[in-house]
Amino acid sequence: MDTALQLLNVLLPLGYLLAAVAYLVVFMEAPEWARPWATRITVWVVGAHVVYLFLASLTFQHVPVANAWEGFTFIAFAMAVVYLGLEWRWKDQATGVFLLVPVLFFQILSSAFVTHTREVDEILRSPLFAVHVTSALLGYVALSVAAVYGAMYALLYRELKKHRVGLIFRRMPNLETLSRLNLGAVLLGWIALTLAILIGSLWADELASQGRLEGTFYTDPKFLLTVVLWVLYGLTLGGRYLFRWPNRQLAYLSMVAFLLMVGSSLAMTLIFPSFHQFS
């Protein structure tokens, strides 16, 4: 099994490289017959990634997110899945290269430096943890993807207002499609975060009652930050659906929220201790 893991660890970045190149070709307006190949390659690589994560979970008896390098491959995987979902829903391939490049980046980082942690806290071996951490990562990744689409929307909006028909105008999908991709990613991220918070809270309660968790989870900085972000994105979605906020506002808000998410996560990790540390 170790050999299979090592082999996949080498093949995954190569596969994502191929996928990124395929989407780059699509972005440069590939012939019609070449377009499905970008999606096919990505689906195959994501399939291989599922096998890799499954094998790693079996081998090490925990979801492979016990250290940063393991986390990076999970982020790459989640980002590729989110992109494929959005592409399938909105039938747009023009933005693939913008997301497959970060996917490739995270996977290269992981493949180059990964060391699997064999000895981990018992909590990490729980199936609930797998669901909790998967949905949390998926949520954060989807919100990051939303920020990318938000930025693309803002760029194209500016070009259209200024009557410029340059490279951005020619290569990007239309404004409404970008808006839908942005909204779809925010929605997916928010739902995934909701699931992560719910499962995490219930599970933490149970662990606390069993005396396996020190302190109270609702004062944990990472938990609080996630809730704040969840509320922020929730308000944004509410504004979009209930008060008909224009699409541009959602695009800008998703970028601002993403910066807040990254900045505060770094600050929290560096400054405050959290029970979200298991190894």
């Binding site: 259209l160 028909v165 020619r170 404004l175 409404e176 224009p246 699409n247 541009r248």
Partner: protein, 491 residues
């Protein structure tokens, strides 16, 4: 035998002259019919006639004579003397004919650089000529190559990207903002001639509903009927503005009829999606401040002209790339053309048989000692000479200047799957057709060629090729980079 083109185009003649010499589809039969008595002189011919050009491509026995006959025939048919006087015409021969057709097919010679309509017109012109049995192997290959060049130019470069027409630019901008025009209502305000053109482009995109509003309801109704839409009274304009996602204004009003305050109210009542406002009136119907509103994209005539200009500039930047494709394809065509001479065909045929014999000998080497092997080689050589004697004699008898002769050579190449490339480069005994620029080596100077082809005793036709074709000085100066300002596609 020579290739030639003569014609009249937007670069050499006014629209009136072009109209007068245009050979319409219903006249084609008569034109090709009139050419039949000259079949010995004009072996193959195709007429390309559009609103921007009328050109005759020919594969002819004598260029000067054919040129004269073709001019007279077109003039007689059209009852004019424009071609005979040569005042508005141009003509090319040999390589330049090939290059010219490839430039036409790729849109470099069009009024609007890179327009795509011309490629279909080139294909259609050939099909018409073919139906009239006026074409042969040479023009078939030439026009097929032209179609290939046109396709390559549009797929490998950006020569055809981005509209250069103001009316199209409005639709293109709307399509970059709204995902599918057919989902949304379009509103046209004003029923004047200026608005009709843009409105028609939007109607072609098939919007969910197209509404026309005009001060005179009857005119709104008439335009709506023409475009397959609905008319609404002037008083209902605000309601129509709220519903529409694309608004085209083209009234004769002297003051703006839509200001920022009015449009802000409309936006409040509309959905959250963006709106596109196209103002093609002069003076403007929509106040420029409207463009500052969030999720509203305003394009007036200046903006649309600037967009079309950006696209024109980008197309012009693509010209060198297209020229590169053309040079490549001209060379390929000429290489094929050179291969139609009897000498390279004989050499390729012998090469093909020798290749088979060598392979068989290589397989048998282990079964013979060296003395026997030499005998076997000698025997094989003799057998090949015997086998190829009759075909070689037949090929030598082919009249390469005739349509049938060319067909025969093409058929031999296809029958034996001959790889002509190594033999074209040598251009042994060039056709002297006026197509290629170089003359092949003299067999007297290359005895090995004479021996190889069995042609040593008979001199190879050695007509002097027309090195670069000739441009008559009767037309206006051609310049592919000429500023194109037309708003409507079509060639």
């Amino acid at each position: 035998m020579e290739l030639l083109v003569l014609g009249v185009s937007h670069k050499t003649a006014s629209a009136q002259v072009r109209d007068e010499v245009q050979v319409h589809p219903e006249e084609m039969g008569e034109f090709y019919g009139r050419l039949k008595p000259h079949a010995d002189l004009i072996r193959e011919v195709t007429v390309l006639s559009t609103c921007n050009r009328t050109e005759v491509y020919g594969f002819v026995r004598d260029r000067a004579e054919a040129d004269q006959v073709l001019r007279e025939l077109v003039d007689e048919l059209k009852g004019v003397s424009h071609l005979s006087t040569g005042q508005f015409t141009y003509s090319w021969a040999g390589r330049e004919t090939v290059r010219h057709l490839f430039r036409v097919a790729s849109g470099l010679d069009s009024l609007m650089i890179g327009e795509s309509q011309i490629l279909g017109q080139v294909r259609e012109a050939f099909e018409v000529a073919d139906r009239q049995k006026a074409t042969g192997a040479l023009l078939t290959r030439l026009f097929n190559s032209a179609a290939h060049v046109g396709k390559r130019a549009r797929t490998e470069t950006e020569i055809g990207r981005g509209t250069v027409s103001v009316a199209h630019a409005a639709v293109e901008m709307a399509q970059k903002i709204l995902d599918r025009l057919e989902r949304y209502p379009v509103l046209v305000i004003g029923a004047g001639a200026t608005g009709v053109l843009v409105a028609r482009h939007f109607a072609d995109a098939g919007p969910r509903v197209l509404t026309v509003v005009n001060r005179t309801f009857e005119r709104a109704q008439a335009l709506a009927d023409e475009l397959g839409g609905q008319a609404r009274p002037w008083e209902e304009m605000d309601g129509a503005l709220v519903e529409a996602r694309v608004i085209v204004t083209a009234t004769g009003a002297r003051e703006p009829i839509i200001d920022a305050r009015r449009m802000a109210r409309v936006l409040k009542r509309s959905g959250r999606g963006p709106k596109v406002v196209v103002d093609i009136s002069n003076p403007r119907n929509v106040h420029p401040r409207v463009g500052d509103l969030d999720r509203l994209f305003l394009y007036d005539l200046d903006a649309l002209e600037s967009i079309a200009d950006q696209n024109r500039s980008r197309r012009r930047r693509e010209i060198p790339k297209v020229e590169g494709v053309i040079v490549e394809e001209v060379d390929r065509f000429l290489a094929w053309y050179e291969s139609l001479d009897m000498v390279p065909v004989i050499r390729a045929l012998r090469g093909r048989f020798q290749e088979i014999a060598d392979k068989e000998l290589a397989r048998q080497v282990k079964n013979f000692d060296s003395a026997d092997l030499e005998s076997l080689k000698e025997y094989t050589r003799a057998l090949l000479n015997k086998l190829l004697h009759q075909p070689t004699t037949l090929i030598r008898g082919v009249e390469t200047s005739s349509r049938h002769g060319i067909h025969k050579l093409v058929a031999i190449q296809e029958l034996f799957e001959l790889d002509m490339e190594p033999f074209q480069n040598d251009k042994a005994g060039g056709r002297g057709s006026g197509v290629g620029e170089e003359k092949g080596p003299d067999l007297a100077e290359k005895p090995e060629l004479a021996e190889e082809t069995g042609l040593g005793e008979d001199p190879v036709p050695d007509d002097e090729p027309d090195p670069k074709g000739r441009r008559e000085e009767d037309g206006r100066e051609e310049d592919g980079r000429e500023e194109d300002r037309a708003e409507e596609d079509g060639s």
